[in-house]
């Protein structure tokens, strides 16, 4: 019993942290730009596919982990500059339709180029095998994913709270006109945030591509969880997204032991309860970052 608990806790934390990487981008982009980015799951999927291509071509996982997210960032930049930017200030529905269109188009392109078959990113030999954690045997790679994503989330947290860039980000979200008046190009900040979110999704794609199959449906699968997290945490709140991601990760992990078929129900029930008690989410309301 203890074993099951420990194993599920590890899994829950690891899931939670990778969810946090994905949800962080989603919530930052919403918090700053009021854009509900339906293409975020597709960007995550692109990270995984770029990862399989780079790792497959050069036989080097580390190169994939480094380059694939950057390519996703480039695509994110193109999406923001050429399509989202002209629509700022309009009804949010425009952004929803547009990003949903991108999600479909990217998935279509993936099927066209790679076909429907699943793939996997090969894990380097150092990360293969299992490790004994207390009474539990745990794969080294899964532990690696947990550590990398935890470190990344911690760094981003510190960055947002402490750095000048973080202050600028929060300020741009709070009062766009004032920041503009101070001579700072808010457009660039917006592009930066969007690219940053895309890179995080790309990193998550490569990390999970080593333990899960990479396939054309993965983007749409993850976006639902990501939205649940963002809603529970409070739209736009980074802190909320991290806490909610951990919560969702743990509920998913424990749920699959207790009642596998009800896990998804638990998630939505949790979201409903949070919304009823605190409609703005756990850390919602005016907080921007």
């Amino acid at each position: 019993m203890l074993e099951v608990f420990i194993r599920s806790t590890f899994l829950g934390l690891q899931l939670g942290m990778t969810f946090a990487l994905i949800a962080a981008g989603l919530t930052l982009i919403f918090g700053m730009m009021d854009v509900i980015n339906f293409a975020h799951g597709a960007l995550y999927m692109l990270g995984a596919y770029f990862g399989t291509v780079i790792a497959g071509t050069f036989g080097n996982y580390w190169l994939a982990l480094l380059l694939a997210p950057l390519f996703v960032g480039l695509i994110g930049a193109a999406i923001e500059i050429f399509s989202l930017r002209p629509l700022y200030g309009r009804n949010p529905l425009y952004h929803i339709l547009l990003t949903f269109g991108f999600a479909i188009a990217i998935q279509g392109a993936i099927v066209l180029i790679f076909g429907g078959q699943s793939r996997r990113i090969d894990v380097p030999t150092v990360l293969e095998g299992t490790i004994q954690v207390g009474p539990v045997t745990y794969p080294v790679y899964w532990l690696f994913v947990l550590i990398v994503s935890t470190v990344l989330i911690a760094l981003i947290w510190i960055g947002i709270e402490r750095s000048n860039l973080g202050i600028l980000m929060r300020a741009s979200a709070h009062d766009t006109e004032m920041v503009n008046a101070l001579g700072i190009d808010v457009n660039k900040v917006f592009t930066g945030v969007f690219v940053f979110g895309a890179i995080l999704a790309g990193i998550a794609g490569v990390l999970l591509g080593g333990s899960r199959s990479v396939h054309p449906g993965m983007g749409m699968g993850i976006i639902i969880e990501a939205f649940v997290i963002v809603v529970i945490g409070g739209l736009g709140s980074f802190r909320g997204a991290v806490y909610a991601a951990l919560l969702v990760g743990l509920v998913t992990a424990y749920g699959s032991v207790i009642a596998p078929t009800l896990t998804e129900l638990f998630l939505f029930a949790m979201m409903a309860i949070v919304l009823i008690i605190k409609p703005s989410g756990l850390f919602g309301a005016t907080e921007a970052a």
Binding site: R7, G101, A105, G116, G217
Partner: protein, 413 residues
Amino acid sequence: MSQGDSGTSESRTVGTTSQTISRRGYLAGAGAVGAAALAGCAGGEDDDTLTVGFALPYTGTYAMLGESITNGFELYIDEHDGEVNGREVEFVERDTEADTNRGVDVTRELLVEYQADAIVGPVSSAVAMAMIDTVQSEANSIWFNANAGDYRVTQDGCTPYHFRTSFNDWQTSAPLAEFVYDEVADNVCLAYADYAFGVNSKDFFAEEFEDLGGEVVDEVGAPLGTDDYSSYLGQIEDSGAEAVFSFFAGDDAVNYVNQFSDFGLDEEMTQTGSGFLLSGDTLPAQGDSALGMYSLLHYADTLDTDRNQTFYDAYADAYGEGPNVYACQGYDSAQAFAAAVEETGSSDADDLIPALEGLQIDSPRGPLAFNSETHDPVHNLYVREVVEGDDGPENEVIETFEDIEGPTWGCSL
């Protein structure tokens, strides 16, 4: 043994993943890719052409299966200069989108508007069960069921027009019990994707395994489309069984098998399962994780016969990649159709039915015939072991069960 269990969940087919997407809306845009419409030349009954209608998914997660079946069928016709019994063959491709309503619409369109002489498809058992009524009420064409394997298609759709050129879920699970009991272990844990096909498969296996004297120590069902199997794997490990019988397909199979190895379970217990667990379309993504695992299927692309070699080479020449089990099912649908038309000189369903019932087909999978009671396939089933091949892991056939039929489920035509 409770076949009724499976009634609770929706019945999807094999070799697919599941995503919680609203598929129709979502694919509306992504579509258009596969389904090249052959509009404009609807063949009537009077002219000399034979019309074959494909009711298959060409978009979405099932697209690869639909494509393979079509490729297989067209390959056989191409090998015979596009003609059967001197009559030109015309194809009409219609996308079912793996949706039951679409499946019925498409079937009606092919049967009524196009007056198709044969209808090939679908992939999903749910779609197949929705199609039964239409095929039966039109009563003018042979239906080659080129994939949908749920036994209930035979049970509920016991119609003379239905010929299954694929398999049924009893065939791809129950016969493995004997191999597992004799060669692997006398106790197993069952692990399965918790939907109709997975439940059927593990039930059929368990029934046979227990009849032989084996013990099922535990069973673990995971929801369709699970990405992380670690907690289920913990349960499987805790069962203490020496072997596992699993039913997972598509991406579920990839994730399950990879994680089974990631967690080191492959060193503690032997993995066995239905052939969809370790098939041509999942093996590349499973890689070394799959080595040493056993599975049962009616086809293996490595099958060492001249017939299969010829088929393999022709398919690879035509499409740039080797055939999978779905391609073989498409190819055999064409073989069966052509043989029956040639024998009777007719394309009338009522003439073709007795001809098909008496047919012996030289299939790449080995000899293939139809049970005259059920029109289910009678064919060999192969126990395959995943071994290191020249281009990575591949299935090697290590044992053959000949001419396997299976129960009739109350169907008696």
